[in-house]
Amino acid sequence: MKGLLIKDCHLITQKKSTMIYYIFIAILFSFVTNGFMATAYLTMLGGFLSFNTLGYDEAENGYPFLMSLPVTAKAYAIEKHLFSALLLGLFWICAVILQGIFTAVRQGPEQFLSETASYSIYIPIFYTLISIMIPIELKFGLEKSRIVLLVFTGGLMAIFFIGASIIGSLPSDLSDLLPNLSDLPSSLIVAALLLLDAVIIAVCIACSIHIMEHKEY
């Protein structure tokens, strides 16, 4: 797996000029917007750069050779999720440091410390997103996965709006049975969301492994 991680590190550093452009955009964001936007941008960038390595692997029929190297299909799938986590985390840390510098200069270090905790929300959000995208890309390939992702996103939005409208149309005595979120302690809500997130990520990793183990090259 170490060899695969090194391969991916080399792959993401191939387009140095594009990287410099992205970093420039991040710095610009930090100037003109608040720290949240710039942190979100950089964290998301880390996730998408790691995701792009799948495209490099797939390009020019790369999979048959990669799978003939001393790696198993399972190890390959796990490495992709691990690499995403590492890169996303690294870019988040860089973003926080960048914001720290800007906020400390503009508003003082106390303001930065109070904001840092809230920046961490981006890690589970973007990692879940990338975790969902990886098995879709592994299953459908670079081209088809874009369409599948669009359909998937549309489906999720439809479920959300239909669910919301069903809850809204429930008789008041039935809707009273649903827990009022504002009454629950925020720590419980955060813990529940993180648990849900962990379950989604675990399912995505299991799907990626299953896809790779059953794929033919």
Binding site: Y56, D57, G62
Partner: protein, 283 residues
């Protein structure tokens, strides 16, 4: 090293149906025209496809169950697949160093220099010959017991092909226990390297024979219509109608030389055998 028994794999109209064996310390060639099924055999050996039926055993294990550790003993060069072309040879060295405990970095760098492979150029900037050399060099760089080479010399000029064949000869000389399975549609490459040959067409095995026997015992008979009629055809494998009469393939050239002094008997070659087996009517 490799044992394939009754492997069957279908893709639409195409069905591969083959048995094959590569012994320890031997070089086995797989020859056939484009689309004959050579790459499918290679993929089955590497566990990249699931057979519909039959077994594929590599280094004593089912191909699909090879672990990462098992795969360290394999060296692979595939015709249309390799490391991302955005990588540089220097980066390939870094990757291989962390993938194969037995990777010989010093020898790899030495060979790169000898073969004029630039370390700091992206692979996409390499010529076809340079890419092929890098693929073979990667396969032989980590003390593999078995090389699986799919068309390693395809599309190369005679000099580049010779360099690659010399690399393979050096690899074999270093340890007599090493084996190679190599596919090619360039018969001359296989003639000088392989101990035995499997000739396949449309997924089926046409011939399995020792290379020395093909070159020593096989012959092409050029016969008139009347010669063909009076000839003992027991040792003919295939015959093809021509304008002058018949061209026949035999695996007992000496028998016809001894018993039919008037007929033309040419030495067999892989190309002539293949041409007659593919185009001739079996006797």
């Amino acid at each position: 090293m490799i044992e394939i028994e009754n492997l069957k794999k279908s893709y639409g109209d195409f069905t591969l149906d083959i048995s094959l064996k590569v012994s320890d310390g031997s070089v086995t060639g797989l020859i056939g025209k484009n689309g004959a099924g050579k790459s499918t055999v290679m993929k089955a050996i590497l566990g990249l496809i699931r057979p519909d039926s039959g077994t594929v055993s590599v280094l004593g294990k089912e191909a699909r169950n090879l672990t990462a550790k098992d795969k360290e003993a394999l060296g692979t060069a595939l015709a249309d697949s390799g490391f991302s072309q955005y990588l540089r040879a220097e980066e390939v060295i870094h990757i291989l160093r962390n993938m194969y405990p037995a990777f010989d970095e010093e020898a790899f760098r030495r060979q790169c220099q000898k073969l004029e492979l630039p370390l700091n150029k992206q692979i996409k900037e390499f010529s076809t010959g340079m890419r092929a050399k890098l693929r073979v060099l990667t396969a032989i760089s980590h003390n593999a017991k078995l090389l699986i080479l799919d068309e390693p010399t395809a599309g190369l000029d005679v000099l580049a092909r010779n360099e690659i064949l010399n690399m393979l000869r050096s690899y074999l000389e270093a340890d007599p226990g090493r084996s190679i399975l190599i596919s090619s549609h360039i018969s001359s490459d296989l003639e000088g390297l392989c101990d035995d040959l499997y000739m396949i067409d449309e997924g089926k095995l046409l011939l399995h024979e020792d290379t020395d026997r093909i070159l020593g015992n096989y012959g092409i008979l050029k016969l008139s219509e009347s010669d063909y009629r009076r000839l003992d055809r027991e040792h003919l494998i295939a015959a093809k109608k021509e304008s002058f009469g018949y061209t026949c393939l035999t695996n007992e050239k000496q028998y016809y030389l001894d018993n039919y002094p008037g007929i033309i008997v040419e030495n067999g070659s892989i190309d002539s055998v293949m041409l007659l087996l593919l185009g001739g009517k079996e006797e």
